[in-house]
Every structure is written in structure tokens, then in C-alpha cells.
């Protein structure tokens, strides 16, 4: 999996969960940058990511991830 592929699929998940087709994610994107990404949606997004990529993200990482870039790193690592 390359980073671009991850971003492509990740964008899909976000757009689906948050009901917003205009979302474009980058490494530095944080929750404040995206409309509707609050604590509740955060979990929905995580669940969506887990379903999309097929693995469970450990709770510890859910709590500490700071931005989308970290999320992508986690996905890449878990995917190996």
C-alpha cells in the first residue's frame, strides 16, 4: 500500500461518515480543520477506517493520534 492509496481510501471513508464530499485530507489536517469532526465522529471515523482497511486500531493509538498524518502512519504500519 502506498501513501496515495491510503489517502484515496481514507478520503472516501471521511466523506461517507461525515456526509461531506468536499473533504480533502493532508498530513497536517486536524479535527478542527474538518467540519463536523468532533469526539463522537472521531470514533465513527475510526470504526469506518477499521472496516475499510480490515484491522482494529488499538485504543491507545485512538487516544493519542494528533493528526491525519499519524493516522496514515498507523494504517501503513498495521497493514504490513
Amino acid at each position: 500500500m502506498t501513501k496515495e492509496e491510503v489517502y484515496k481510501r481514507l478520503n472516501e471513508v471521511f466523506r461517507e461518515v461525515l456526509d461531506d464530499d468536499s473533504i480533502e485530507l493532508h498530513d497536517e489536517t486536524v479535527a478542527d480543520d474538518v467540519d463536523g469532526w468532533d469526539s463522537f465522529e472521531h470514533i465513527n471515523l475510526i470504526v469506518g477506517v477499521e472496516e475499510e482497511f480490515g484491522f482494529k486500531i488499538p485504543m491507545g493509538k485512538v487516544v493519542t493520534m494528533k493528526n491525519v498524518g499519524e493516522m496514515v502512519d498507523i494504517i501503513l504500519e498495521m497493514g504490513k
Partner: protein
């Protein structure tokens, strides 16, 4: 020893001196000893056993976790032990601190079933330790962090005990994470900036607490002591003043705590960030008692929402009621549990009413009607970026908090009475008594015009500082940029204000912080 007492100031002066004079290797030991000394004078000494118990439970469970994982790889089943450790801590807290929640039921039960009457003596024996609400959450956070492998378990039990009992934050928080406080064990060089910033912050905290909060407290106490007389607009005064008192009291306390910790070179997390600038109640809770909110979010909400049951429930509601409604129902459930936890942590029915239920309703309504409001403001082409709109939103935030805080202040039954009374002013003909503002009856509440002027003056300064903070991160950064004469004038003026108009000295009880009881 209260943290606004003269003795405390002497205590930290000596403490800081020792801290920087002794070898850096044992600085954490100095902090530990200071915490023990503080505990001895600030609380009933033997209750430190509770802290020790929590520490040992965390210590053994986390080390066991680590060892099990090393032996059996990451698949080791450590959850049961983790849960037991957490539950024991919760149980201790509940039995000792949460007494208001179970005692009425228990004594009633025992009375009905002719079991031995719980008498006052047993009641007394359950004296809680200082800061039980705060350190319990903190140590639970540590255990969970170790379970999630976000933290490496501490091998030295004394160091862990320092994490639990660190004296500046013991009585009123903030609730720190283990990662934030690992700096306790590091070496800290003497930096003049730490001392000056810390001292400035402490001075500012004193101003808010003993000049502003105590003064407003006189009025509020007078109004609370005789609610049947003080009706009509008096209720409004009480309702609207109390949030200001709470803010000045709690955030002033935080300033002292963070300032003291800064003297030792240890940065604690902020607990307040101009809460009344918040545009929505949701934002309010990201600015008020921040560490409690983030703790609840990370350790209660997230695990809850990510649990299988919740996910299944979410899928079910989305299928049945559609995406939007389904999400809303999940949110409602999650919020309810989250808010009940926060309310229960405060340890009393009045907090569950005033914090949990009230805010849960408000936030749910806000969520429900958000799209409607958006449509309205768009239709009416309101300038939502303007200062006027922000002012309106802040006022709304303040008012919402004021209503909830009424329960905080006088309890559930009196709170309902007072709120009803306030409504009567608006709805019932001839009920309002606006003349009380003009006939000097305010002076019967135990304050003089001088006091009221001072309240207004210091409130304005607090507002200015809040604005500076919004712009510069910290007001003192802006102060630091000014020339030294201006800076010195500010600090000396604050000192004079606290010295002359502070409510301290013989004749005042060592002022208790409102949040010290948790």
C-alpha cells in the same frame, strides 16, 4: 494549610530553596517530601493511606501487566487484572468520597430492615483523603495508559506515589496524564523565568481568589442564606453572579497551582481557557475544567463509543431511523453516560442535576436544533462573524452555565425554587422588584459601594487579561513585551490590591476553594 494561607507561602519559599540548592538527582525526592509535609498539614494525616493504597494497586497491576506481556507477547490477557485494579479504585472512591450518593439509601435500608443503625461515629470514620476525586482519576488514567501501552509502568513505587500525591495539584487538580508528569523525575535547572512567571501567576491567582471571588461570595452567601426574603431580582443577581464567583475562585486557584508548580519548573496542563468566550455549550466544556473533560473523553467516551455494543447499537439505529437520526441517538446515549460520569464524580445529587442532566439536555437540544438555527441565521443574513453575534453567543453560554450552576450553589430543591422565582420575574405581573437596584438595599448584603466598585474593577481587569490571552496565548507574554517600568507597575499594583483589599487575615476562615471538596 490552605493554599492561600500565609503559611503556604512560607512553605513553598522554603521548598523552592531546597529544591534548587540540593543536587538535581534528588529533586523528585524533595518534591515527594514536600508533598508529604503538605499533606500532613493540609489534611487528616492518616488518610494518606488511601493514596498509598491506590498507588500500590496501580503499581502492582501495571508491573504485572508488563511482565505478562513480556512473557506471552502482546496477546496476553491482561484486561481482567486491569479492570479489577480500576474497579477497586472506583470502589474506594465511591465508598469514601461518594458517600452522599449511597449513604441516604444505605441508612434508610438499614433502618427499614432493623439492622444496626449507622450512627454518626461510623460516618466520621469515613473521612476522605484530600483530593480523592482528582488523584483517583489520575491514577486510573495511568493504569489505562499502561494497559493501552501508551506508557511504560513506573518501576519505582515512590516515584509513582509522587505522581499521585504531587502537592500543588492534589487539592483541586488539574488532572494530569502520566506522560505530562514524567517531567517530575527529570532534573530541573534553575531558570529565573520560572520563578518570575510562577510568582506572577500566583499573584494573579490571589487577586482573582481573595479579592474578587471572596467578595462576590459575600453577596451570594447572603442571598443564599435567606432565599425566601431575597426573591425577584435578587434571584437574578444570585444566579448571574455565581458563575463569575465560580470562575474567579476555580481559575484563581488554578493560577496559584500552576504558578507554584512552575516555580519548580514543572508545567501542568491548563484547566481554563476563557470559558465564557465560548460560542456554544459544547465549546464551553472544552474551555472549562479542561482536564476533567479530556480525561472523560479519552478514558470514558472513546472506549465506550468504540465498544462492540455501542457500535452494534449505532448500526441498528442508523438502519432503523436513518443516518442522521441514528447518529443522534448514539450521541445521546454516549453523552448521557459521559455526563453522568462527570456529574457523579462531583459526588452529589446537586451536581448530577446541575451538571449532568442539565448539560446533557442542553447539548442534545443544541445538536438537534443546530441545522434549524443555521437556516434561520442564513435566511436573516446575520453577521455571525461579528462581535455582536459573538457577544450574544457568549451571553447565552454564560446564562446556560448560570442555570446549571444554581444547583451547584444551593442544591436541587432550593435550585428549582430559585429558578422558578427567577422565571416569575419575567412571567408574573408585578412580581419584579427592580427598585432594589436603586434603593441601596444591595448594601444590606454585607458589602459596601467600595466593595462593589472593586468587584467591577477587578472583573474588568480579568476581562482584559482574558482578551490578551485570546490574542497572545498568555497575557503575561504581552506584559513581558512592555517596558520594565510598566511591567513592574502592574505587578506592584496587583500586589497592593491583594494586600489591602484581599479578604484574608484574622476574622476570615481560611478560605476554602469551592472545588477543594472533590
Amino acid at each position: 494549610m490552605s493554599i492561600t494561607s500565609f503559611y503556604f507561602l512560607v512553605f513553598i519559599t522554603i521548598g523552592v530553596a531546597f529544591y534548587y540548592v540540593l543536587p538535581k538527582k534528588i529533586q523528585w525526592v524533595v518534591l515527594l517530601l514536600l508533598s508529604l509535609v503538605f499533606y500532613y498539614f493540609a489534611a487528616v494525616p492518616y488518610t494518606i493511606g488511601y493514596l498509598a493504597a491506590s498507588t500500590l494497586i496501580a503499581y502492582f497491576s501495571t508491573l504485572w501487566m508488563k511482565r505478562k506481556r513480556e512473557k506471552q507477547n502482546q496477546d496476553a490477557k491482561v484486561l481482567p487484572v486491569t479492570m479489577i485494579a480500576l474497579l477497586i479504585n472506583i470502589a474506594i472512591w465511591f465508598v469514601v468520597k461518594g458517600r452522599d450518593l449511597w449513604f441516604p439509601f444505605a441508612s434508610g435500608f438499614m433502618a427499614r430492615h432493623d439492622v444496626l443503625q449507622i450512627d454518626a461515629e461510623i460516618n466520621l470514620r469515613m473521612i476522605a483523603s484530600l483530593g480523592m476525586g482528582y488523584y483517583t482519576l489520575q491514577i486510573m488514567g495511568y493504569i489505562i495508559d499502561c494497559y493501552w501501552q501508551n506508557a511504560v509502568p513506573q518501576k519505582n513505587p515512590l516515584k509513582l506515589f509522587l505522581f499521585v500525591s504531587y502537592f500543588p495539584q492534589l487539592t483541586t487538580g488539574p488532572i494530569s496524564r502520566y506522560a505530562q508528569l514524567e517531567t517530575l523525575y527529570e532534573r530541573h535547572k534553575f531558570e529565573y523565568q520560572n520563578i518570575s512567571f510562577g510568582a506572577q501567576r500566583i499573584l494573579w491567582g490571589f487577586t482573582k481568589k481573595i479579592v474578587l471571588a471572596e467578595r462576590i461570595g459575600i453577596i451570594v452567601s447572603a442571598l443564599n442564606s435567606d432565599m425566601s426574603t431575597y426573591t425577584g431580582f435578587y434571584s437574578w443577581i444570585a444566579i448571574l453572579l455565581y458563575p463569575l464567583q465560580m470562575y474567579a475562585d476555580f481559575s484563581g486557584c488554578m493560577d496559584i497551582v500552576l504558578g507554584v508548580s512552575e516555580l519548580f519548573g514543572i508545567r501542568l496542563a491548563e484547566n481554563f481557557h476563557n470559558p465564557f468566550f465560548a460560542r456554544t455549550s459544547q465549546e464551553f466544556w472544552q474551555r472549562w475544567h479542561i482536564t476533567l473533560g479530556t480525561w472523560a473523553k479519552d478514558y470514558v467516551l472513546y472506549p465506550l463509543l468504540k465498544s462492540k455494543r455501542m457500535i452494534r447499537f449505532g448500526k441498528f439505529t442508523r438502519k432503523k431511523f436513518g443516518k442522521k437520526a441514528g447518529k443522534f441517538l448514539v450521541n445521546m446515549a454516549g453523552m448521557f453516560i459521559l455526563w453522568m460520569v462527570m456529574g457523579i464524580w462531583h459526588g452529589g445529587l446537586r451536581y448530577i442535576a446541575g451538571v449532568s442532566l442539565w448539560y446533557w439536555v442542553i447539548l442534545m437540544l443544541g445538536d438537534l436544533f443546530a441545522p434549524v438555527f443555521l437556516k434561520i441565521t442564513n435566511k436573516l443574513e446575520m453577521k455571525t462573524d461579528s462581535f455582536a453575534w459573538h457577544f450574544f453567543q457568549s451571553g447565552r453560554t454564560y446564562l446556560i452555565y448560570a442555570v446549571g450552576a444554581t444547583f451547584f450553589s444551593v442544591g436541587v430543591t432550593d435550585g428549582i425554587y430559585r429558578l422558578k422565582d427567577a422565571l416569575k420575574v419575567l412571567c408574573v405581573k408585578n412580581y419584579a422588584n427592580p427598585w432594589i437596584f436603586f434603593d441601596q438595599s444591595i448594601l444590606n448584603l454585607g458589602v459596601t459601594w467600595g466593595d462593589i466598585n472593586l468587584i467591577i474593577f477587578v472583573s474588568v481587569i480579568v476581562l482584559l487579561v482574558a482578551i490578551l490571552r485570546e490574542k497572545h496565548g498568555y497575557a503575561r507574554i504581552w506584559v513581558q513585551q512592555q517596558c520594565f517600568i510598566f511591567r513592574w507597575m502592574i505587578w506592584i499594583s496587583l500586589f497592593i490590591i491583594v494586600l489591602i483589599w484581599g479578604k484574608y487575615g484574622p476574622g476570615y476562615d481560611a478560605s476554602i476553594f469551592i472545588y477543594e471538596g472533590f
